[in-house]
Every structure is written in structure tokens, then in C-alpha cells.
């Protein structure tokens, strides 16, 4: 089959590889019908995530048709159309039973690195480095899905691939980030980053009852999309952001702040240069510009919710401000399994059509070019879907 393989920093290529086969009893093989490139794939592309091996197949947002099932998979059959969560969860461990699916104890075959770096291993992920299990991803013609009896969800025939594909990651990720804010009627939510996850945060915050959403970015095309989602949008390059937020909330600050940017924040000014230097000299791994601002801006007793990916160590984080204001922090990989059915219901009721984020469509064979254009945001590239 054809699959997009990681070769090294900023080097990916579509290669011919063997077809996947059933290895464990709870596996299924899915024939991919639609897959996507995620912003977090760019962290791999840019070489920020360690434990990648040349030849690893990328992709964690995908859906398709069941072509084969292991003997322990009784809820799926050949021909079923399914969306697959990017987090791999066994369904039986302490964490899965508590619906902390992205903390599954039993899906990572090689948890040693994560245990050393994080104290414990989170769940494995598709196509996201050997620290997270080394599973082959779904930017391919076929994919092996472990624990297929608890992950993949069957989708209604009347919904298109593009309407349901993002249930695999970014829609639940934005939704969980908003849910983590414990939004109360009348709340103001500020969202850093108007990429696909940020846009889903904005839409989800409104679905959950926010009165106002303020969207922050420096890419005008993305700010325009945020406005289309109903947010007030601000270009942080043109204002003193913290002062602007204080004025717009009449001194109180946003009730909750969502950092939908993560470890590759493009800071400006002295702090931005400082972070780049620290990261380049390996004195810090992540650049937390957005997170710093979110902490400083958030109202007293508010919530900072972090769907943006962080991988390592942060420097100059204003913990004193977080403590003084009594902030709540909520973060982590999305417990996708928990959100699949409720969010399918919202799509079916017409409350949201997740396909609004798609800007580019490519053949899988052109995936390498798609990565390049996505990483440079050429033609206002926001979300790429790939068709095998």
C-alpha cells in the first residue's frame, strides 16, 4: 500500500510499504477513505518530538471502512464505516473506566521513555513517535486499529466523510477544551490560536453557553475565520494584548482562557527571542508565549484550559500569578472516545458542521507537498484532507 512516511526533520515522502495485518485479537484493519494532516503533525514534521524513526507512518486523523477484524472484535463487521479516535485505549483499565481514555494504561507497548520523562505513560497514539507507542498512522491506504472493539465509532450513512472525519481529533479536542472551562451563562472565553482546534474551541464555547468569545492570532485569514465563527478577533501583533483584554473585559479579565497554540508559539519581542534562544540551545524545549499570556489575562478564580500540545520543559512561567489569582488548570490529550457519540448527535442535529475548517484537498500521493504548504500556511492553508 501507499503510506506517508517520516524521513527526518521537514522530510516526509509517500512510499510503498507492506499492507497492515491483524496482529492481536482485538485489532481491525480499516481501508482509509479520508484522512487529514493535523497541526500537531507539524510538531513531528518540524522535528520537535523525539523518538521518531525514519520510515514511521504518520497520521492520526482518519476514517474508513472495516475490511477485517480480529476474532475478539464482535461489534464491527466488514463494510462498517467508522471514525477512529487518535488516542488508543483498551477500555478495561482504571483510567479507561474513569473515561480518561488518553491516560490508558495498556495501549503503549513501549512506555519506558514516557515513564522516564513524564513519570507515567499516557495512552498510545497513532503515528506519533515511539514514545507514544510507535503505532503506524492513517495517512495511508490501510491502517491497523488496535482495541477496535472500543475505539472506532460507526457513523450514520447520511453524514459525509468530511462532516465526521474531525471526530477523530480536532473537534473533540476543541470541545473538551471548552468543556474544561466549566462555562457558565454570560461567560467570556478567550482563545489563543485560531487554527482548526482554536476554531472548534470557539464554536464549542458558544455551544456550551459562552456569551462572548475573544479570538487571538496574528494571521489575518485565521482571524477572519474566527469572526465567522462568532468571535471578536484581535491581532496580537497590533495591540498590547494584555491591556487590550483588560479593557475589553472592563478590568475583570476573561472568565476562562484557552491556549490552543502549544509548544511552538511564535512569540514576539524580547520574550519571543528569549524563548527561541533557549529552545535552540536546549535550555528549554517548549516556547510558552501563549500560555504566559493566558495566565496573566485570566480573571481571578478562572480556568486556563490547554488543548495545545506541550512536550517538555517550560521556562519563565508566571506561577506566582496563577497562584495569586487562584486559577484552575485543565489540560491533556483528548479523551476522544468519551465525546464521539454526543458529538455525532450534535452534528446530526445540525448544531455544527465540522467540515467548515477544510481549506485544501489533496490526493494521498501529494501528501509531502501538502505538509510543506500547511507548514508555511501557503494560500491561507488551514486544514488539509487527503484522499487515498
Amino acid at each position: 500500500m501507499k503510506a506517508l512516511c517520516w524521513r527526518g526533520q521537514k522530510d516526509v515522502a509517500v512510499e510503498r510499504v507492506p499492507d497492515p495485518k491483524i496482529i492481536n485479537p482485538r485489532d481491525a484493519i480499516i481501508k482509509i477513505t479520508t484522512t487529514a494532516i493535523c497541526g500537531s503533525d507539524l510538531h513531528l514534521y518540524d522535528g520537535y518530538i523525539p523518538t521518531m524513526k525514519a520510515g514511521d507512518i504518520l497520521g492520526h486523523e482518519f476514517m474508513g471502512e472495516v475490511v477485517e477484524t480480529g476474532h475478539a472484535v464482535t461489534n464491527l463487521k466488514k463494510g462498517d464505516r467508522v471514525v477512529v479516535p487518535f488516542t488508543i485505549a483498551c477500555g478495561g483499565c482504571f483510567f479507561c473506566k474513569k473515561q480518561f481514555y488518553s491516560a490508558c494504561d495498556n495501549s503503549n507497548p513501549t512506555p519506558e521513555t514516557a515513564e522516564a520523562v513524564y513519570g507515567a505513560s499516557p495512552s498510545a497514539l497513532f503515528g506519533y513517535s515511539h514514545m507514544f507507542g510507535g503505532y503506524a498512522g492513517g495517512q495511508a491506504e490501510f491502517v491497523r486499529v488496535p482495541f477496535a472493539d472500543v475505539g472506532p465509532v460507526k457513523v450514520p450513512a447520511h453524514l459525509t466523510d468530511e462532516q465526521v472525519l474531525f471526530l477523530s481529533d480536532i473537534f473533540p479536542t476543541g470541545y473538551m477544551a471548552a468543556e474544561n472551562c466549566n462555562i457558565e451563562p454570560g461567560d467570556t472565553v478567550a482563545v489563543w490560536g485560531c487554527g482548526p482546534v482554536g476554531l472548534f474551541c470557539i464554536k464549542s464555547a458558544f455551544l456550551l453557553g459562552a456569551a462572548r468569545v475573544i479570538a487571538i492570532d496574528d494571521v489575518e485569514g485565521r482571524l477572519k475565520r474566527a469572526r465567522e465563527c462568532g468571535a471578536e478577533a484581535v491581532n496580537f501583533a497590533h495591540v498590547d494584548l494584555l491591556k487590550w483584554l483588560e479593557e475589553r473585559t472592563a478590568g475583570r479579565g476573561p472568565d476562562s482562557c484557552i491556549d490552543a497554540v502549544g509548544l511552538e508559539a511564535h512569540g514576539t519581542g524580547i520574550a519571543g527571542i528569549y524563548d527561541r534562544v533557549k529552545a535552540a540551545t536546549y535550555m528549554a524545549t517548549d516556547r510558552p508565549t501563549a500560555l504566559r499570556q493566558a495566565i496573566m489575562a485570566c480573571r481571578k478564580g478562572g480556568t486556563v484550559s490547554i488543548p495545545g500540545v506541550y512536550g517538555g520543559l517550560l521556562d519563565k512561567l508566571p506561577m506566582g500569578a496563577a497562584f495569586a489569582k487562584g486559577l484552575t488548570f485543565k489540560m491533556g490529550q483528548t479523551h476522544v472516545h468519551k465525546y464521539l457519540k454526543p458529538l455525532i448527535a450534535r452534528i446530526e442535529r445540525g448544531e455544527i458542521d465540522p467540515s467548515f475548517v477544510i481549506t485544501h484537498r489533496y490526493k494521498l500521493a501529494d501528501a509531502a507537498r501538502a505538509y510543506k504548504e500547511f507548514s508555511t500556511m501557503k494560500d491561507e492553508c488551514l486544514k488539509v484532507v487527503l484522499k487515498p
Binding site: 507492506p18 507512518i57 475478539a72
Partner: protein, 259 residues
């Protein structure tokens, strides 16, 4: 040697019956890992090096370091290098069991399994399940009367075999076993089960002891070329939890990969 050479020297210098000697007597026994033969050899070698140093026949700094090191391990009976390698030549005077105290390699590990204690106990009590999660085991054949025949991977692709018997079996609490005379490897093990309150699963604590055919050197070599016994038992117990909770052990072996 009941008293170490060092404590004997201190006591004789301070005078027997003195406060120093009484204090020395109250010290806990030193953690020795050298046999008495090896300690006398160390003392002799250390003395020789020190003597050569005094006559100016060797570089003074190097020989001082080597000589002091040899005399230190002779006096204390403790060698940091051996300790780092897990080697112990001190032996033991305790009565013989499957693996006498001070012999062999002892490893322990605990995991919490999200299953009722009865399920966890029942799975372990069937020793034929053990090779499913203990990677060094090839096969365990449970016979009658709590006896079993074990085949395990030995060094350099060999197989080692032994018969074992269950010595303790308290349902849902503890199982303990040991190898019988004539074993290729003297071994003993135990597993304790504790059900946690409020359906939080079962704590499983395992302890294994092995006296491998090549002895301490074999264990040290195995550690150098592969997993240490500690990381091996940790991986095995993780596989046990995976089998109990997920019904299978996760793997990526055999999945497609680019060139």
C-alpha cells in the same frame, strides 16, 4: 567472619571493653559482598602496591588510588564495583533453601490490576499462564499435588529446566513456590494479592529469586547484553496487567514501516 577486619582493628586499637569497642559492637553487621579469601587477597595486593609506591617503582598517584581501594575492600569486605554489577562472593551461613539468602538474584515488583482479587489470583494460580507474560519462560507444565515443570530461556540460547512445588497457597492472598533438588536453576518466588477498597482493583506484589547457572557473573553479563532483572520483572508485570485488563499484550511487531 563474624566481625569485619575493620571493626577488629578499631576495637584492638581502642582497647577491648572501651566505649569505642562497645559502640562498634552495637553497629549493624556490615553489608559485605566479598568472600574472606578474596578479602585477604585484596589486602595482600593492596599492601604490595603501597609498598611498591613507597620504593618509588610505580607512579605514586595511581598506585595510591589502587592500593587504597584494594585495602578498603579488604577491610570492609565491601566492593562498590561488585555492588554496581550485583556481584556477591560473600556467601551465607544460613540453612539451605531453594535459593539460600545472599545467593542469586532477587527482584520484586508490584502493579495494580483493575480486576477483582479472585480473577487475578485464579489466573496466576494456573502456572501454565505464566509464560504468557513472563518472557524468560518457555513453558510451565502443571502436574499434580502443586508440582510443576518449568522450562526457561538460559544464557546463549540454551534452555534450563526445573521442577517446582507450591509451598504456600492461600486463595486470594498469596502463592509461593520453590524449585526442587536437581534443578538447573535454583529458584523461588512468591506473589501476594491485596484487594483495594472501593473497587480500585488488586495490588499484586511479586518477588522472584534465581541462582542462575553461571552465578553472579551470568546475571551481570545478562544485564550487560539485555534487560536487567529489575526492568525485566517490571515489563513482565506490566504484561500481566495488560493481559488481565485488556486481554492481550499491545505490540507493534509486524506492522508496516517505510524503508
Amino acid at each position: 567472619m563474624a566481625a569485619t577486619l575493620l571493626t577488629t582493628a578499631v576495637k584492638s586499637a581502642a582497647g577491648s571493653g572501651s566505649r569505642v569497642a562497645r559502640a562498634v559492637d552495637r553497629l549493624p553487621p556490615a553489608r559485605t559482598n566479598l568472600s574472606s579469601t578474596e578479602r585477604w587477597l585484596s589486602l595482600a595486593a593492596g599492601g604490595t602496591v603501597a609498598g611498591l609506591c613507597l620504593t618509588g617503582r610505580t607512579p605514586p598517584v595511581l598506585s595510591t588510588i589502587i592500593g587504597t581501594g584494594l585495602i578498603y575492600r579488604a577491610l570492609t569486605g565491601s566492593c562498590p564495583c561488585y555492588r554496581a554489577l550485583g556481584v556477591n562472593t560473600a556467601g551465607s551461613t544460613k540453612p539451605r533453601t531453594a535459593v539460600p539468602a545472599g545467593h542469586g538474584t532477587r527482584v520484586e515488583h508490584a502493579v495494580t490490576v483493575n480486576k477483582p482479587v479472585a480473577d487475578v489470583y485464579r489466573f496466576w494460580r494456573d502456572f501454565e499462564n505464566l509464560p504468557r507474560f513472563m518472557t524468560h519462560l518457555i513453558d510451565v507444565d502443571a502436574t499434580t499435588d502443586g508440582r510443576s515443570h518449568w522450562i526457561a530461556r538460559g544464557p546463549l540460547g540454551t534452555a534450563v529446566e526445573w521442577d517446582a512445588e507450591i509451598v504456600t497457597d492461600v486463595p486470594n492472598q498469596v502463592i509461593a513456590w520453590r524449585s526442587l533438588d536437581g534443578a538447573d536453576v535454583d529458584t523461588a518466588g512468591s506473589v501476594h494479592f491485596v484487594e483495594l477498597p472501593h473497587n480500585r482493583g488488586t495490588e499484586v506484589r511479586v518477588a522472584l529469586k534465581y541462582d542462575p547457572p553461571a552465578g553472579k557473573v551470568g546475571t551481570a553479563l545478562a544485564t550487560l547484553v539485555g534487560k536487567s532483572p529489575e526492568s525485566q520483572i517490571k515489563a513482565d508485570m506490566r504484561h500481566f496487567r495488560e493481559l488481565m485488563e485488556a486481554g492481550e499484550i499491545p505490540t507493534i511487531k509486524g506492522q508496516p514501516h517505510g524503508e
